[in-house]
Amino acid sequence: MELAIGIILGCCALGAGAAMIAGIGPGIGEGNAVASACEAIGRQPECKGSVTTTMLMGCAIAETTGLYALVIAILLIFVAPNMLVNILLNAVK
């Protein structure tokens, strides 16, 4: 019984860690976006305001995939262990 619960908890933690690998993508994407924005501001300093606004919007949209991973990781850490252990206990009964 303890072994089964231990496996559930450990696998939830491993899954949460593996889900956050998705953080690499938005990191690279946002880095590219900010680099291009810096370049654009360097070339045309007069349109700094609109470039910054567009860059922030783009960063927010690029972040979405990372946030999906974050939501899944949070579910795996805070919600899934309780639920799975309850299912296991009910099944044993």
């Binding site: 922030l56 927010a60 979405t64 999906y68 974050l70 949070i74």
Partner: protein, 271 residues
Amino acid sequence: MTLKVLFTPEKSGISISGALIYFTIPMPLQNLPITESQVNSVLVLITIFCLCLYFTHGITVKAELKRQQIAEWIVKQTQSLVKTNMSDYFSGFAPFVAAIMGLSAFSSLLSLIGLYPPTSDINIVGGWAILVFILITYYKMKCGPIHYVKSFGDPVPLLSPLNIISEVATPISMAFRHYGNVLSGAVISVLVATGLQGLSKLLLGWLPGFLGEIPFLQVGLPAILSVYFDLFSGCLQAFIFAMLTMLYVASGFPEEDYFARRAKKLAKLKK
């Protein structure tokens, strides 16, 4: 959230939890829980209402009062924002955008005074996202339901499942973006504050009396994190939510078809 952690003594234990449920009201289908986030969002509504009353109290044509000039600045900024991002047809959209931006910003800033921010609860943000989704669908329906259904098979009818998925994904991604940003900031700041508390306990714990309980490492870093996650990120997310609302509504509205249709109708009426 940071403030709450900083003022919790180490003995009572800190845990990252969702919104507290104050009490439940029995309902015919399902019990209705009244949670911390609902109460706090009502608090935000009352605050914004009182602020509006204060800013617009005793306004004159000449704008002599300072608060009236602040109110006029807010109105001007939102109107110019709506004008640059949406077409002229949506000139009456500014109050809605300002309302959603103020609501979101004040909800996120509520964590600065140690209360639970309603935006880190997905139910609240999901409600706003559903509201925006209804608006988008309303403006897409402006040319009649047949035009709306036809728009799903846009380049080729074969791609209609993908179009339906992208339609449903809009409110989900909007809700997750706002909620995930605020929640991740709260989790990181709580982790850092708790870790520093433990570290200072480890370093100074051998001192006698209250000297050993001073969390001296908690000075500085949690405050800087709070400025970024609570102040900057909260305002930025409010701006992004309002901006995306405007972009989605403006891009969903089939403007040319709508005006062509209206011109046809007017021509028919004249005959």
